[in-house]
Structure formats: structure tokens, C-alpha cells
């Protein structure tokens, strides 16, 4: 594996061949905004928050899907990028029904945190107020489609880490939504192992543990790191 050197926001950084711009920046304390990226599961480049400017490329690149190249010059925080991210965030906030005051994730929500970070103080586009379902058929967890931003972290985690592939996306465009199995109530899913990984990786309060009150749902994603680390090294059993 060869080492590559690149410049991110004016600072020289190094990474290993195959690393993404996002990862190298992260390890060097440059936090690029993101919603769909989640370390440990494959990237999809869907939220477009992590777009960066790469010198010599006419189009913006999703940093989570852009592998580093020697001599690359990357800018992650230009005024233009900040404006795009802010408008993207406003579009997301207007798309669903994100009512923080009644949300279990209030105060522990990645969408809320990022909106604050991006300086969103109002939403310029009209709210859509869609009619969306809440699925409380599962014995332990709930799904509130109103809070879903279609990042597909749950889809990828359930498929890649748990291996159950309960979740999928159905419909298209504005009607895109999460489905369990082939559109069953979550509680009827025969594939669901009730492990709760999807709940922990969800960036908003769309997936939550039943019984949480407003602001009580704190999520812990550290388990992913251990599972992925162990798998990569084939540590199937605890060493005596």
C-alpha cells in the first residue's frame, strides 16, 4: 500500500491508497459535514453534504466516495459550498415533518446538529407537510417516517453488518420511503433479528427505542467500529 500526499484546506495531509478524502480529512481533524456516510458500512454519496471542490475537476465531488490521489488539492469549506449545504439542509427540513419539540432525538440529532452548524435560522422553501406513516408494530422499536431523511444508513447496516436485510427503499422521488421486508409492518418482519443496530445508526429520531420520551433517545454507534474491526481481522472468538 502506497502513501499519498494531498492538500486539504491548505494543509498537507497523507493517507493510504484507497482512502477517501473524507477519511483522510477526518483523521486530520477536518470534519466535513455529512449525513449518509457512516464509518463501517459502504458509502452511497446520497446526501451531498460532504461535497468538496477538487482542483482540476469541473464538478463537485462527494468526499465520501472520492479516493485520494497524489498531489490532490481539496477545499472543503468555501463560501459556495457552505451556501449549497445550507440550502440542501433547508430542503431536507422542509421535506419531512421535523418537529424537534416532540422528537425523541431532540438534542441528540445529527440533522439538528448539522443545521445548527450550518447556521440555518429559517427555511426559505415552503414546508411540504407530507402525510407519512408511523410504524409501531415492532415489540421494541418504532419507525416514524416523518423524521426519515432517506440516508439509507439503516438499510446498509442491516444488510452489511447484521446480514438480515430487513430494510429497503421503495417508491421514487418525493414518495421514496423506507420499507421492512416487502412492505410489511416492521413487527411482522421474519428477517428482523431485533438487534437494534438500525436504530443506533439512524441520524435522526426516525428509528427509535419504544418508550423514549422527548430528547431521551441517545444513540451509540461505537459497536460498529468493534464489529467491523473484528471482522477485518477474523477475530471470530474471544482469545482465551
Amino acid at each position: 500500500m502506497s502513501v499519498k500526499t494531498l492538500t486539504i484546506d491548505g494543509k498537507m495531509m497523507t493517507g493510504v491508497e484507497g482512502d477517501t478524502v473524507f477519511t483522510v480529512a477526518f483523521h486530520n481533524q477536518v470534519q466535513i459535514p455529512r449525513l449518509c456516510h457512516l464509518g463501517g458500512v459502504p458509502d452511497v454519496g446520497a446526501c451531498r453534504m460532504c461535497l468538496v471542490e477538487v482542483e482540476g475537476r469541473s464538478k463537485l465531488s462527494a468526499s465520501c466516495m472520492t479516493t485520494i490521489e497524489e498531489g490532490m488539492v481539496v477545499r472543503t469549506d468555501t463560501e459556495q459550498l457552505r451556501e449549497y449545504r445550507k440550502l440542501l439542509m433547508e430542503l431536507l427540513l422542509a421535506e419531512g415533518n421535523h418537529v424537534c419539540s416532540v422528537c425523541v432525538s431532540n438534542g441528540n440529532c445529527e440533522l439538528q446538529d448539522l443545521a445548527t452548524h450550518l447556521g440555518v435560522d429559517h427555511v426559505r422553501v415552503p414546508y411540504r407537510h407530507p402525510r407519512r406513516e408511523v410504524d409501531l408494530s415492532h415489540e421494541r422499536f418504532g419507525l416514524d417516517q416523518n423524521r426519515c431523511i432517506a440516508c439509507t444508513r439503516c438499510v446498509r447496516t442491516c444488510d452489511e453488518v447484521e446480514g438480515a436485510h430487513v430494510w429497503d427503499m421503495a417508491g421514487r422521488g418525493e414518495k421514496l420511503h423506507l420499507v421492512a421486508d416487502l412492505g410489511e409492518p416492521w413487527g411482522n418482519s421474519e428477517n428482523c433479528t431485533k438487534c437494534g443496530k438500525c436504530v443506533q445508526v439512524c441520524p435522526t429520531g426516525a428509528l427509535f427505542t419504544k418508550g423514549s420520551a422527548v430528547g431521551e433517545m441517545e444513540k451509540d454507534r461505537s459497536f460498529l467500529k468493534y464489529i467491523v474491526y473484528g471482522r477485518e481481522r477474523h477475530q471470530w472468538v474471544k482469545k482465551p
Binding site: 446520497a46 451531498r48 461535497l51 463537485l60 430542503l91 422553501v125 421514496l176
Partner: protein
């Protein structure tokens, strides 16, 4: 059964001899356009008349592909004098079959050599349309079919084929205009035992039907192009991805594949050589985004039709992560003529950067509508006013729209723009796959912009945020304009969203979705201004 390259020639001779035994051959258009206005009944009527008059040995009734003048169908062409009859009815059978004089029929006769719709055309892709029976491989062989494949396999190395296509200067006919030879080279240089050739026949732009007509009228030409491509890049397997709505095209293609396999033209030993090439059809379920190459690959793999981020590009990692060549139907249809007649012949046609011809589906408020194939560099005005005959009833052209929901409008004063990739982009539109919609003075450009945004909104797969949510918001704003409710702030927001979608969307659908709006704003700003609330004019938020 095997067919050697020499036998191909013999088969063609035999078919030509058979055709010469007839005193007259009547070509009936059996493409979807003429079928929808009674073409099948005309063909059946002619056959019945031939049978009743006992002329089976003298007159042959042949079904052929689209002859172009779709608005005047059903069309029948008389081979002996190249006369084309418009709006033929089953009652005309006697006059046509027995060559008896009929005043009514004569009034509907046009000479293809002089009629303005046909006179300015240069037919390469559509050369066989109206001549070849798409359901008989012999008919294609008689027109010189599969001789380019034989020539490539027996006299050229794969590298020579790629070089020939590169020298010809052919560019992708799907819309973006990427140099075809360069793409072939990218796939050819990949070291991998498994490679794929994919034909994109998921034509989805509103009003566009070029690819459908080629598949319906000359399916073997596309198969021949794909087989040559397979040989050139080292692929043994091809897929044609056709949208499900094209039932007739799918059935003709299935027939053509079966015939070619039976003849040994496709299969384990193509034309009795060591080259193996198989073609399968994959039928799309009608999602516009599946015309985007990476979404198309996902769909073939049985996954949800969503685009993948590029790079990696399909020539490196395409279908099932293998090197994959994806070209459009019309691009493949150009390959056989390039190999047969040489790159020098092809590169002499067209402009400096855009070679060859382009097929356009002219629709809208014109006198004639249908398919035209013109040399690159032909002014748009010539297509609209001469070939299509201008606006029906004598109105004035306001603008034309090319490139569908990804393209834009060209206003009347710019109609002298030549048809080539760069010139159309320079005026804010694009070549696109070949849809050309002509609008007259009564058309509202704001409404057109709203219509195309609605199309993109419905067809967005929803994967990325800007396209999923942005098209919806832009559509809402455009609806406000249509309802005369818009303000300056709305106009400002509309422009901001257009820029966001263009810059941040994941695939071409979202990136180009604002184009129709942007060109309408560029050329017809007064129409948008006229749609604003009077009180709000000049008020900035």
C-alpha cells in the same frame, strides 16, 4: 447451423434474385406510428387483394420499418418508381395492387426524391427503413447486412476496428456526445476475461422515438453493431436494455436475435469464427432514470434503478463490476456503415467536431411530423421550416425544444444554429437523444418549463437530496408562476435552486433538470415577469 462469411454473400444474392421475380413490391410501414393509425389493416388488405387477384407470383407485400412521415400514415411505398402514398386505406388496395388508375390515390402520392420532407435528408442510420423487412433476416442480408461484421472478423484485428471507429469521429448519440472510439478503447484496454456490451434502448424523453423506430425497423443493424463492438473490445456477451413500453420493438428484437442465432451469426461461433457473442434482452419497467448508464446497470443486475456515483466509470467497473461498454441504439446503428464504407467516408459528413448524421423526432405544431435524419451541421431552421413545413395552418415558430427534460429551448431568432453538439450547448440547449418539439406563438414557455420540471420530479429516483427535494420545490415555484402568484423572491429562489441542482446532484437527471427552466428564463424573461403578482413586482425580500 453455421454461416461462413462467403455464404453470407450467397444468401444475399439468392434473396435479391427472389425479389427480382416480382413485378412490383409494395412496402407497408409496420412501425408503431403507422400501426396505430391502421397500418396493419392496410397490409392485410393488400395481401388479400394480391391473393384474390391471383398475383402472388407478381406482387409482393412487404412489411418494413418507419419511413419517417409519421403524421401522414399509414404509408405505403411502391418500389418500382419509389412513389410514396400517404394516408393509405384498405380501400386503396385494388389501385395499388393492380396498378389501376385512381385519382384519389394519386392525390396522396409524393415523390420521395423531391418532397421537401425527404429531399434534405441524408439517411445512414435509417438507410434500411422502408426497404428492409425487419422480421426477415434474409431481407437484411440482401441489403448488405452483416457484411461489415464479416469484414471486421476476417480482415481486421480488434484494435483496427477501434481505430476505425475513432478515426470516423463518431460520438455518442444518446445525448452527451462522448467520442465512441475513445470509449471503446477504454474498454478494450481493460484486462479482464469477462466484459460486456450494453445497448441503451431506454429512450425516455417526451416526444422522442428515434431508437424505437430503429429497433422496430432495422433490429439486425443494432445487433450487428453490438457484435462488432464485442469483437473490438473483447466482450462475448451483450445486453439490450429496452423500455417495457416498446412492445413491438422488443418483439422484433427477439425475432431478430432468434434468427441471427439460428443462422450462426450470433452464438458460440459467430460467422464460423472463434468469436463468441450472445445477446440478451432486458426489459425496463419504465423508469426514466434507468436511461442513465449506471442506473441502467443496476437495473440489469436486478437492483433498484438508482445511479451509482462515478468514478468508477462503466468501462472500468460496469455490469457486475466488469468492464462494460454502453452505447445508445443509434450509435450502434452507425457502426456497420462505418466499417463497410470506411472512416474517411463517415468523417467527411458533418462538421469539424460532429461527424455523420443525427436522427430527430420532429413533433409539435408542425405541418409534417416524424423522423428525419440530417447531416450534422444542418441548420435547425431547415429542419423546422423546410422539412417539417413550418407551423401547421401558417402560424409563426416561437421556439423549439431539444434534449427533452435535460435540454432546453432555442428561440426563433437562433434557429440558424447548426445541429452539432457544441453549437446546441452554446445556445443553452443540447443535442440530446433527438427529440425536437416545435412550438408556436400560442405556447407558454412558463408552462413548458413547468411541464418538464414536473416530468423530472416524477422521474427522480429520490436517492440524492437535491434532485429528490429540489425538483419538487422548483415545480411548486413554477406552478406559482403559472397561477400568476409568483413574486421577485420566488424568481430569486428558483434561480438559486436551479444552481444547486446543477452543481450538487448525483447524476445527469438532477444536474440537467434545471436546463429547460434556465433557457426559458434566458430567452423569455418577459413571460416570467408577466406571470408575477402586479403588487409584488420590484419588491425584494
Amino acid at each position: 447451423m453455421t454461416t461462413t462469411p462467403d455464404e453470407l454473400g450467397e444468401r444475399a444474392e439468392k434473396e435479391l434474385d427472389r425479389q427480382k421475380t416480382f413485378r412490383e413490391r409494395l412496402h407497408c410501414c409496420t412501425a408503431a406510428g403507422c400501426q396505430s393509425c391502421g397500418g396493419d389493416a392496410v397490409k392485410a388488405g393488400l395481401k388479400q387483394r394480391v391473393k384474390d387477384a391471383g398475383l402472388e407470383a407478381q406482387v409482393e407485400v412487404v412489411g418494413t420499418g418507419c419511413m419517417g412521415l409519421c403524421s401522414k400514415g399509414p404509408l405505403v411505398k411502391r418500389e418500382s418508381d419509389d412513389a410514396l402514398f400517404l394516408e393509405v386505406k384498405p380501400d386503396d388496395a385494388q389501385a395499388l395492387v393492380e396498378a389501376s388508375p385512381s385519382l384519389s390515390l394519386e392525390s396522396r402520392r409524393v415523390d420521395m426524391k423531391t418532397h421537401p420532407f425527404f429531399a434534405g435528408q441524408l439517411r445512414i442510420v435509417l438507410a434500411n427503413a422502408g426497404k428492409v423487412d425487419p422480421e426477415r433476416v434474409e431481407s437484411y442480408l440482401a441489403a448488405g447486412g452483416y457484411s461489415a461484421l464479416a469484414q471486421a472478423l476476417t480482415t481486421m484485428k480488434p484494435g483496427d476496428v477501434v481505430a476505425e471507429v475513432t478515426k470516423a469521429g463518431l460520438r455518442g448519440r444518446g445525448g452527451a456526445g462522448y467520442p465512441t472510439g475513445v470509449k471503446w478503447q477504454l474498454v478494450a484496454k481493460q484486462v479482464n476475461e469477462t466484459k460486456y456490451v450494453v445497448c441503451n434502448a431506454d429512450e425516455g424523453d417526451p416526444g422522442a422515438f428515434m431508437d424505437r423506430s430503429v429497433l422496430e425497423g432495422d433490429p439486425h443493424r443494432v445487433l450487428e453493431g453490438m457484435a462488432i463492438a464485442g469483437y473490438a473490445v473483447g466482450a462475448n456477451h451483450g445486453y439490450v436494455y429496452v423500455r417495457g413500453e416498446y412492445a413491438l420493438a422488443i418483439s422484433r428484437l427477439q425475432t431478430a436475435i432468434k434468427q441471427a442465432e439460428k443462422e450462426g451469426i450470433l452464438g458460440a461461433r459467430v460467422l464460423d469464427t472463434n468469436f463468441r457473442f450472445q445477446v440478451e434482452i432486458r426489459i425496463g419497467a419504465g423508469a426514466f432514470v434507468c436511461g442513465e448508464e449506471t442506473a441502467l446497470l443496476n437495473s440489469i443486475e436486478g437492483k433498484r434503478g438508482e445511479p451509482r456515483p462515478r468514478p468508477p466509470y462503466p468501462p472500468e467497473q460496469g455490469l457486475w463490476q466488469k468492464p462494460t461498454l454502453i452505447n445508445n441504439v443509434e450509435t450502434f446503428a452507425n457502426i456497420a456503415p462505418i466499417i463497410s464504407r470506411g472512416s474517411a467516408w463517415f468523417s467527411n459528413i458533418g462538421t469539424e467536431k460532429s461527424k455523420g448524421t443525427k436522427v430527430f423526432a420532429v413533433a409539435g405544431k408542425t405541418k409534417h411530423s416524424g423522423l428525419v435524419e440530417v447531416a450534422m451541421g444542418t441548420p435547425v431552421r431547415q429542419i423546422v421550416t423546410q422539412m417539417a413545413g413550418g407551423i401547421a395552418g401558417g402560424g409563426k415558430v416561437k421556439a423549439i425544444q431539444t434534449g427533452g427534460p435535460s435540454g432546453g429551448c432555442v428561440p426563433e431568432h437562433l434557429l440558424d444554429v447548426p445541429v452539432d453538439y457544441e453549437s446546441l450547448v452554446a445556445v443553452g440547449s443540447m443535442m440530446g437523444s433527438g427529440g425536437m418539439i416545435v412550438m408556436d406563438e400560442t405556447t407558454s414557455m412558463v408552462e413548458i418549463a413547468r411541464y418538464f420540471m414536473e416530468f423530472c420530479m416524477d422521474e427522480s429516483c429520490g436517492k440524492c437530496v437535491p434532485c429528490r427535494t429540489g425538483t419538487v420545490q422548483m415545480h411548486t415555484l413554477l406552478q406559482k408562476f403559472c397561477d400568476n402568484e409568483a413574486t421577485e423572491a420566488d424568481l430569486d429562489l428558483l434561480k438559486k435552486l436551479a444552481d444547486l441542482l446543477r452543481a450538487t446532484s448525483l447524476c445527469g437527471l438532477g444536474q440537467s433538470a434545471p436546463n429547460p427552466v434556465m433557457t426559458a428564463l434566458r430567452y423569455f424573461p418577459h413571460e416570467f415577469a408577466a406571470c408575477m403578482k402586479p403588487a409584488a413586482k420590484g419588491v425584494h425580500s
